[in-house]
Amino acid sequence: MDVTGINILLKKIKSNLVFFCVIILFVNCSEKKEIEHLEVNYKNGQAISVEFKASQGIEEAEIFIAGASTTPVLGEVKQLENGYQFIPVVPFSKGQSYEIRGNGVTLANFMVAPPLTKELGELAVIYPTRDTVPENLLKIYLQFSQPMQQVGEALNFIKVTDETIGEEIVVFLELESELWNKAHDRLTLWLDPGRIKTDLIPNKEKGLPILQGREYTIHISRDWKTAEGQSLKKDYTKKLVVIARDSNKPNPDNWEILPPAAGEKGQLQIIFEEPMDAVLALEALTIKDANGQLVPGDFVLGRYEKRILFKPVNNWNKEEYKILIEAKLEDNAGNNLNRLFDTDVLQNQGRALAQKSYELAFRITD
């Protein structure tokens, strides 16, 4: 690409910048000023490149994080008409100071603006929302208000205390690939499944992660950072009061259906027999009309995930509808519609019973 080409490209980049800040900081005040007009270019709040002019005589120049680092920052260098542009592999870190060094001598410093948002993170909800849980509780979800950092280990920020004995204990399964959703704002934590399944070696060695009759507190530290590098607003706690194990599969036949009236967009209420897995409950249900067509609308969880509300986009007709329930729907103990999580069902029986979905009918009347 010739110089004109670079300039056109540069103008294009500049015209797209949401922020185009000029930061000239701490330019080295040595006798011979070798780097000047240093500018950090921002796009969508990210420091995507740095531009500067350099006088003759600079033999070696590389960018380092300020301090003792001897590893240069990786990136691409473009020669501009009046200077140079350095585009790092990943945007420069917010609030970080950098040095341009030549032959081991610091020629200039620059600092990248701190994060734009000062909004602290929040732990919006912990599922299950009810404190009372079965002894064989399989998983909890932490739903945050914004995407969380994608580095570090989640379990470093989570502690569990057995309040009955006053000791910190380990209940969650450590996984190399943490189970986040795509937005990285919801984390799934499994209570160690190997300890929940009766007679597995982890179960024999360590016993159940939580025990009936005891109380536990889950502490989530405010030190956990959001993707923007902000802490959480506060430390969070969640109490668990453990009751007897749940050894029953969810049975849709025992659910209560409260249909709304016809000709309106009223909410359909489905009351489960027990609190269900929050994430799966929102995914596992669909509504079909009398012609077998899917009814568009949205599901919202009710109190303690023991009920779910469906609000249709269009008015209900006076006809029979069906609720289609995927068999993967689980209660809080990991029991789904086909099988108990901890069961001695032999392979053939298990497969014979397996069906993909279940149906419940209800009728809309006046």
Binding site: A54, F64, L175, P193, D199, K204, G297
Partner: protein, 372 residues
Amino acid sequence: MKKLIYLGALSALTVLTISATFNDTTSDLKADFIYGDPEIASIEELAFGPDGILFIGDTKNAAIYALDTRDVSEKASAENINITAFDEKVAAALGTTQENIKITDMAVNPLSKTVYFSVTTSEGTPVLLKLNGDKLENVTLKSISYSKIKLQDPVAVDAKDRRERPLRIWAISDLKYHNGKVLVSGLSNKEFGSTFRSIPFPFTDTQQYASLEIWHAAHGQFETHAPIKAFDVINLEGADYLMASYTCTPLVLFPLNELKEGVHSKGRTVAELGAGNSPLDMISYEKEGKKYFLMSNSNRPVMRIKYETIANYKDKITESVDEPYVSRGVAYDNLPFPYVLQMDKLDAGNVVYIQRTSDGDMVLKSRTTKWM
């Protein structure tokens, strides 16, 4: 400034060289590759195939990518590696400090013996780096020759009622290339379950979902939902086996030729490796005519098992283990390497690994298999 200009010129020259040699490095396997930005959203797993092809497991996009690294010059052996404060070095190369990065995987190109690393930043930007001497280099993910396959949901039901339906996420837990197939294991972030896929390469529309069943020692039951954490393919007495290690401890063998669509394969549990532990990486190597198998773990040292021990273990664990803390099945040796976070075979005589030392330092080291 010459160095900067030199780097710029080198990049331009590299592009020219790549263009000039495009046909030279294109094998049949790369015939369907396209050049451009694959828009990789995350890198959880790396695995090399033939001809410098690097497979990338992207959980966020629920996809596997095959990248042409063009790193195809063959080298018999690698240089020794010994880098301390490796996480600091990686972070500095990305213009940040170590608390803002995570090394998600490491893989060695079996042709060039070059070590590749996938790294993520706190904001989730995926980066691919490779080691050149003691220096790190960036491998661009923006303009590269690649092919891609989306991981279909094997149990999805048709649901078009909602305007937005969340994509099912399978956290890709391991990835290997073996004999024309990309093998992928994954954990669900919702229900307790796992998938194991065998995907023919070059990618077509075919994906095979093997239904794997294992016997849980002590539990006295067959288990089809347990998540595979790490696996390798090993050859025993002329037959290939999938050696799968599970989150809930057992080590299980499945004949590879049985892993076919619609075939329900029952594994042979050959070892129970103890509780409170999660397997991380599995590799095989040969020493003095004998084959060995290594497994790194989250809470145990690296375990070594001899192939012949596995081959000679004709039994399977199908009975209860009554006594706690007793491991069962094939014997293994604990090697004096705890907290090995990543591990791969470097060359015929060396292994490379990333280890957190007792003083908290993260080191990248090679080590001769003579002492392993």
